[in-house]
Symmetry: C2
Subunit: 339 residues, 2 copies
Amino acid sequence: KTIALLPGDGIGPEITAPTVELLNKLGDFTFEEHLFGGISIDAHGTALTDEVTAACQRADAVLLAAVGGPKWDTTDPTKPRPEQGLLGLRKALGLYANLRPVRPVPALYDASPLKREIIDGTNLLVVRELTGGLYFGDRGRRGDTAWDTMIYSVAEIERIVRTAFEAARSRVTSVDKANVLESSRLWREVVKRVHAEEFPNIELEHVLVDNAAMQLVSNPRHFEIIVTENMFGDILSDEAAMLTGSIGLLPSASLGGDGPGLFEPVHGSAPDIAGKGIANPLAMFLSAALLLRHGFAMETEAAAVESAVDRALADGLRTADLGGAATTAEASQAVLNYL
Amino acid sequence: KTIALLPGDGIGPEITAPTVELLNKLGDFTFEEHLFGGISIDAHGTALTDEVTAACQRADAVLLAAVGGPKWDTTDPTKPRPEQGLLGLRKALGLYANLRPVRPVPALYDASPLKREIIDGTNLLVVRELTGGLYFGDRGRRGDTAWDTMIYSVAEIERIVRTAFEAARSRVTSVDKANVLESSRLWREVVKRVHAEEFPNIELEHVLVDNAAMQLVSNPRHFEIIVTENMFGDILSDEAAMLTGSIGLLPSASLGGDGPGLFEPVHGSAPDIAGKGIANPLAMFLSAALLLRHGFAMETEAAAVESAVDRALADGLRTADLGGAATTAEASQAVLNYL
Ligand SMILES: CC(C)[C@H](C(=O)O)[C@@H](O)C(=O)O
Ligand SMILES: CC(C)[C@H](C(=O)O)[C@@H](O)C(=O)O
């Protein structure tokens, strides 16, 4: 099985190396490493070359660390930006479903900005639509105005909504802004229909995006599955991630119809600590676990990684982002020891 | 001085009555009450009639309680909805600047979902653009798609950004999604220019909306002024409101160039408790304080209302939403006693 490896920028390479080591312990994988993001801009003038796109399409799964950094920040639309690589890859691989599990680790409740009684028992999954909406709609400038288009088709809504219902045990919360947006009204209609026709036994609720942003803070336990469009999902999933106080622990999976999925940590490239050997590799390990589970149906191995991470944390493992002093190497070893 | 009074739906009328009483203690005002929202739909088939629009335009200030309720919830674009009244009034009065102060009351830290050490000292103002973006851009359906347009002109960005800088003591945080959206790239360019040309002594930072959603939870004290476009402002200001755990206490002001401003609580019409006499009137009182300050330059009276509310809370006043049992009448009396 071939894994396309995209270490990217900043701390990316530092957390990729131990993840390869971890995966090699669990199976027989071929790794193909590629430039992606800022480092690819420096080498090729674009964040994602056609060769890398093709290589990712051929692979059985894609493992990405992080892209971006101040070096490539620009608002000049004619300049290449690292994010274009991410967006291009999502589109090229048809990765319409971004899954972000948020499950605070009891050992780390103290790291959460939320009170223990609020965070305790939270276990939610954000299902974010990833290839539609404002991210890929028509945009441009005319005269002294600039615009972007939030556009959705029925088929785009149907498939992401199915992903959400299929992942649900008992309840799905669909988030929209149907009191203002036409695309949200279509969204709500489609969600209702798919629910009635295909998943009548799952409870469905509709929550406005502003209200969801409130409830995520005041009562995160309320949510099991949140399904929403691309931009709302970007905002709400990052808000949800922060509830745990340990964004360095959160993985994500981006899945398409068929073809390889893409697995990456929720955190960014952290340019401020890059090269120091102190980056937290755990979100990357947990992303590898999602790769094993969703990409290769290796549930046993996936669960083994997750439990090794849990045990290392319970033992007191803390990298700098969690208020500790463990290095990347020490954190990696602590997890590998439990495998 | 004439105040157009829009009690609206749900708990609206219950919290409007004591607010009129409060204002009558502080000045000589003429109140003109109008139907608005769901109740106007029932009477006239539209949430905002031309007569009410004209009356609000003629008034010196508009005081609104809340609109909406399950009775008028619909995704049918041909049916009238209460929110259309709100959006119509914002547009008709040119209310482009929505100001939402978020200042947790120490007496209520226990009500916050955030830990005391996170919330302590938070004192921020969200300056939300209110008449542009996705809310008023072109929208529609074609075939099996639906779309909305996020569009901004340079002039629209300039004026809201000036409002933000003028309100700032030392720092403004501009929130956008410039790594994806063209309208955000224009936003960022204009913010930079206005800052350099007119407010070089105020610190300016640019934060991506997903990151802002995180930092609001992890480090709300960081923010002094957040300025952002309409949809992002809707989401972030509600998230920020919830940090205090007492959304029943938060007022807002919507201001235009000249002409009357509109003042309203952040909370909604709470149809579940309407008619029971237990709604918390404090956000409405504090909205009246903003009306006195921004609408009539009556700073002394505005501050008197705010300090009366603070003292009543310090005395232990708690309505149901704050975990207590005080009725609307008791809460109102407690505040009036301090005036
Ligand atoms: C980098 C950016 C384009 C991206 C997004 O907005 O999708 C990121 O925030 C994410 O959530 O993966
Ligand atoms: C009711 C709705 C249209 C409105 C908005 O989204 O602006 C509300 O959420 C608000 O923030 O005032």
